[in-house]
Amino acid sequence: MEAASTGTKFQLRARIRGLIDSGATILAVLSTLLVILPLVAIFIYLLLKGASSLNLDFFIRTPKPVGEAGGGMANAIVGSATLLAVASILGVPMGIFGGVYLAEFGRGTKLANAIRFTADVLNGVPSIVMGIAAYSLIVLPQGHFSAFAGGVALGIMMIPTICRTTEEMLLMVPHVVREAALGLGVPNWRSVLSITVKTASPGIITGCMLAFARVAGETAPLLFTALGNNFWSTTLNEPIAALPLQIYVYAISPYDDWHRLAWAGALVLIVLIVLAVSLVRYVTSRGVLKGAS
């Protein structure tokens, strides 16, 4: 009798545990779906609204004057690429080196704490303020808007994100790996560059991609810096078009034709960001060995 009742008790407990287990699993799956849902919804909506306006002209023509049909955003696509290249050249090395300093050389120093605090504050500064800063630092002294100023504004926005993710990723590298390098008689700087940074590189690259994707869609910092341009621009010294700017201008215009182009532009912007991120992922993952964590 005794044995039978413990048996049922045990079965009951096991059933309750089973229910809690499935409940938790269902919740986790639902949460995941909820996270993906907005992205999928936006993408589908963009496809519905924008795909019909996409044609070859969109990718090889510059905008037409109001009233004329057709035209494209070729100059804005190239302009965005230019701005992002300038931003990355400035922001990626500065962010990574800053993060390396915070994690490896300046740990616990007052300077490092000050830099970390500054980076966190900079991360929270509204992007339009970044634009005003670049405006007063570069546009005003030079006397004209330029692609360079736009790139600098975006680049400065990339620094704090990259800097802090680099630091976090480096701190995650196990202490024993650093000791292994030091124990081989490798100088500290060499061990940091060739071992620690290399071990953390997948995470550092993710940080760079996050920062890149974030500034790729920024409009506000470009308003007073890159300004926008309806024509081809081939130099960093002149105003340049950018996809987010073009979308902004077209979307607030009163013309249906322009609205359609703005939708198409938004679709292209998202696809290009996804492509760029996937390309970097592919290129950087090719060297990874079997079983590397």
């Binding site: 030091l182 081989l184 060995l289």
Partner: protein, 252 residues
Amino acid sequence: MGVGIEVANLNAWYGSNHTLQDISLNIPANHATALIGPSGCGKSTFVRCLNRMHETNPIARVTGTVRMGGIDIYEDVKPVEIRRRVGMVFQRPNPFPTMSIYDNVAAGLKLNGYTNRKSLDEIVEKSLKNSALWDEVKDDLKKKSGASLSGGQQQRLCIARALAVDPEVLLMDEPASALDPVSTSKIEDLIFQLKTQYTIVIVTHNMQQAARVAEMTGFFLNGRMVEFDSTQKIFTNPSDKRTEDYITGRFG
């Protein structure tokens, strides 16, 4: 060839914690010397003082002298230089996770600017053979990451990595404590072979292991060295009561 190590009045601190007190001993060349003692007795700190790894901790401090082959390692050379001549194998296997098996072994040479590919190949092969790992990995040298190996293989990889820079002394800080019995016996066989060419200092919690591999044994307790003598003497007829108590399992 290995060199002997003469340690005199070595003291070490972590912050205000006096972890090693007045250690003096002579470690013979081309032999294995075991250091035993309960956890926290200072034996790991002691080996870390022999390649100046102790001072990589910002709160650590050392006084006293350590001489290897006539050189005072705290006076005459830079820490980086002494660590090239004194290899170290750590408690937990710590291969470089992003590097292939080959690059792990070659790391010490490559990172110190040695790039002759042909002789690198030879050194990698020789080191992996010396650490009894060659047959298990020779087909995957450049394909697999060091982290993809089993724990025992990883530890032998770490030994190969330490051997590749051709050290005179090999320090092993509980090299088998994280391994299963089969891997442990492989590592012990290895120590047996290696001690003909290198001076080996091995920290161990396992007294049978000390008895099996080492000619000399030192017993540490509370930051002091209680006794240092031939392994046979320590295990059969120790002069100090505390050594006997520890060996017979009365504490620790």
